[in-house]
């Protein structure tokens, strides 16, 4: 194996100028909310970096996270997998299949033990011994535990890996859990979202490659740089919320004027993600801009947080039926208690001694 080239060398060979490289680093710094001065540090670190080995395990997933990554505009998937990292195992992208694929993973895990970055998408089913998802005859749990041992850090990509996601939604038929429910002794970063914004995936990878450590995380293990604020706080429709101007249906004047979607169920106020600032697909739009409320996909348990069309101020469960039943029960109880009171009063009446003038005369 030839001595590994640095990123800067590789880029140079491919005709990427140093100037363009620095520009990329500056863009990266901005995206990660780092001070502009750190761009040169990033450049220095990236210029020296070898391509670290990355192993990507896919469990109970829909491949949406990988698809999202392919839509990354900066850095692009090509520059990521050909220049920045060595993607040594990835079901959807790798050439090898079957045993050859498994072998590639084994080899990479051996060669870079303790150094490789483990990316996981999809949840892990634990019910019934994990039979609900197997690869090469092995359970996801088995494979995750093995791969986690030699990982320098783990990136849980997407809400399924980060929080259990859709498979974990009630009634969780397969006992699906998140990576962090299983692996406790490795640094884990959760890049939630269904799917996550591609720039967030690549941004976190770039941060790791640059600084050799994970970025600052919130209490749910998400990078603060991207999940530090709510959609609502940065939403271009926020002024309408503050003014109390709400679209009432998906196709009224308010909807056409871009008024706030709160009443149509937007979960932006309780959702931490960067959609409102980075937007999607190269800054084209994001769900709210395209007329649909945020469904809260980067938050734990968002599938079970009530209908996507129920305003945050409304109950997430059926309260009307509960109230109806309660009213009947309350009325029943009142009738019963009323009858008891009546009996009590009748008894009192029967045993009552009439007050006579003798009673006034006292003892």
């Amino acid at each position: 194996m030839k001595e590994q080239e640095t990123l800067e060398q590789r880029l140079g060979e491919q005709g990427v100028s140093r100037r363009a490289f620095l520009k990329f680093c500056a863009a990266l710094a901005t995206m990660m909310a780092l001070p502009p001065s750190s761009a040169s540090a990033i450049a220095a670190a990236l210029a020296k970096a070898k391509r670290p080995s990355v192993i990507w395990l896919s469990f109970q997933e829909c491949t949406g996270c990988t698809e999202s990554l392919t839509r990354s505009h900066s850095p692009t998937l090509e520059s990521l997998i050909f220049d920045m990292i060595s993607l040594d195992y990835h079901h959807t992208l790798q050439a090898a299949s079957g045993h050859a694929a498994e072998q590639a993973r084994d080899e990479a895990m051996k060669a870079f033990y303790g150094k490789y970055l483990l990316l996981v998408d999809g949840s892990i089913p634990l019910k019934d011994g994990g039979v609900y998802s197997t690869i090469a005859g092995r359970t996801n749990l088995d494979m995750l535990e093995e791969a986690a041992k030699g990982a320098a850090a783990i990136v849980a990509v997407g809400s399924c890996a980060a929080f259990g996601g859709l498979p974990n939604a009630q009634p969780n038929p397969t006992g699906a859990v998140a990576v962090s429910d299983i692996v406790k002794d490795r640094p884990i970063v959760n890049i939630s979202g269904c799917p996550p914004i591609p720039a967030v995936i690549t941004g976190v990878l770039a941060h790791y490659l640059t600084f050799g450590e994970l970025p600052a995380l919130d209490e749910l293990g998400r990078p603060k740089a991207f999940y530090g604020e709510t959609i609502h706080d940065r939403c271009y429709r926020r002024p309408f919320y503050d003014q109390g101007k709400f679209a009432k249906t998906f196709d009224d004047e308010g909807a056409r004027n871009g008024w706030c979607l709160y009443e149509l169920g937007c979960k932006g106020p309780t959702t931490h993600n960067a959609c409102a600032t980075t937007k999607w697909n190269g800054g084209t739009s994001f769900p709210i801009e395209s007329g649909h409320g945020c469904i809260g996909c980067s938050e734990p348990k968002f599938w079970d947080a009530g209908s996507f069309y129920t305003p945050l101020s409304a109950p997430a469960a059926d309260v009307a039926t509960v109230a109806q039943v309660s009213m009947v029960a309350g009325a029943g109880a009142a009738v019963a208690m009323g009858a008891l009171d009546r009996v009590k009063k009748q008894k009192l009446q029967q045993s009552r001694e009439k007050l006579t003038v003798e009673d006034l005369k006292g003892d």
């Binding site: 009590k344 009192l348 009439k354 007050l355 006579t356 003038v357 009673d359 006292g362």
Partner: protein
């Protein structure tokens, strides 16, 4: 627990009905009722806050009629009502409440507080916690026929006097008369001019009426002490007399609680509707006036004002009637502040006047009336309640005030149009 306490609490439990439960449920402790009670306004002592006077009853309600209260009681966590406590509350329930009902109009959540006090007194008297003065008055009423000790002989003497004065006959025990006049003890004993007055008025108006020798006393101490049993007995006497004489109407005298007892509580006390109607004397006079059967031919130029008796006005609904009559004879009539439904009590209603212990407090409470009177320069106070009249006279005397106090019926009678037949020689 003593038998009497047990009896009292059982009475509380029995008295608590939908309205009382609702009132206790609704009270938000805003304290606005304090402002409406002259015992509070004149003393500024918070214990006279009307709703506070009901605390023992409230606790019985809570312990017997609410879910949590029952639970707490079962768990032994609630404070039982004791004899000592009832003794402590006795002056609050009797001495400092005239059942005037002003608080019931003030309560923002709509609590009829006076209704509650009335009910609470049932339990108080059953448990033996009633003022001695009121007990004595009630005892006299039952045993002698009148709280003041007047009897049929006293009445006969007064009637004779009235007949002499008016030259007219006062019909006694006339079966088949339309109206049966009932009087209050005070009217028989002190304000006996009223007998002549009504005799002349009825004569002029051609009213067929009578007085029953076995049912002339309208004062009902039973209501005041809070005993339905005793009140029923007292009301029963009048009912029996009216039924014996087969009258169409019974006239309630110028006496507030007599009116309440006879008009509103009576049928409920005896447990059946009356075969006759009850009408207040003022109500009747106003009716005669509107029918043109009551004519006056002179006026009194004195500056007069009207003291609204609580039971007749606020709790009886007769606001306009006395004023209509006054306007016939008193061109210089002036209203006190807070007239009509919001008038301030004389301080002696609801049995307070019969309760010597309450005298000092009652005297203090009269300051309110004094202040009202000081605001206007009336020289004569007209009222239509013998008890009010007594209280006003008491208060005026105590405060060295010069006002005269007259009864409305007498005032009207004084100015009756010249009537050859009716006019005294």
């Amino acid at each position: 627990m003593s038998t009497s306490l047990q009896r009292g609490i059982a009475s509380f439990v029995g008295q608590i009905d939908g309205p009382i439960a609702s009132f206790f449920t609704s009270c938000v402790h805003c304290g606005l009722c304090a402002d409406s009670c002259l015992f509070y306004t004149e003393t500024q002592d918070p214990k006279y806050t009307p709703i506070h006077k009901l605390e023992p009853l409230r606790r019985v309600w809570q312990q017997e009629y609410t879910f949590w209260g029952k639970l707490m009681k079962k768990a032994g966590l609630s404070k039982p009502v004791t004899d000592e406590e009832l003794a402590e509350w006795e002056p609050l329930v009797y001495d400092s409440c005239t059942l005037c009902g002003r608080c019931s109009l003030a309560c923002p959540v709509g609590n009829d507080i006076v209704y509650m006090v009335r009910k609470m007194r049932e339990g108080m008297v059953a448990s033996g916690h009633a003022p001695e003065g009121l007990k004595g008055a009630t005892q006299r009423a039952i045993e002698l026929g009148s709280p003041m000790g007047v009897n049929i002989n006293t009445l006969r003497a007064q009637i004779k006097h009235a007949e002499k004065e008016t030259g007219l006959t006062v019909p006694m025990d006339v079966e088949g008369a339309d109206y049966m006049m009932v009087l209050s003890s005070a009217e028989v004993a002190e304000y006996n001019d009223i007998i002549g007055a009504v005799t002349r008025i009825f004569h002029q108006a051609g009213v067929s009426w009578t007085i029953a020798s076995d049912g002339f006393e309208g004062t009902n101490s039973g209501i005041q002490i809070g005993s339905s049993d005793l009140a029923a007995e007292l009301v029963g006497r009048i009912v029996r007399a009216a039924e014996r004489l087969k009258v169409k109407y019974v006239i309630s005298p110028e006496c507030g609680h007599a009116y309440t007892a006879l008009r509103w509580e009576g049928p409920n006390l005896i447990g059946r509707p009356y075969p006759f109607k009850v009408i207040h004397i003022i109500e009747l006079l106003d009716q005669l006036r509107s029918e043109g059967r009551l004519k006056t031919d002179s006026v009194d130029e004195t500056r007069m004002t009207f003291h609204d008796p609580c039971q007749m006005v606020r709790r009886g609904g007769m606001v306009e009637q006395p004023r209509n009559l006054l306007h016939m004879v008193a061109p210089n009539f002036v209203e006190m502040s807070d007239p009509g439904l919001q008038n301030w009590c004389c301080g002696g209603g609801g049995g307070v006047s019969a309760n010597e212990r309450a005298n000092p407090l009652r005297t203090r409470a009269f300051n309110r009336k004094k202040a009202q009177l000081d605001e206007i320069d009336a020289t004569t106070i007209v009222s239509a309640c013998s008890n009010c009249r007594t209280m006003l006279l008491d208060g005026l005397e105590h405060n060295h005030m010069p006002h005269e106090v007259v009864g409305l019926t007498e005032l009207i009678a004084e100015h009756l149009a010249d009537d050859k037949e009716g006019k005294a020689p």
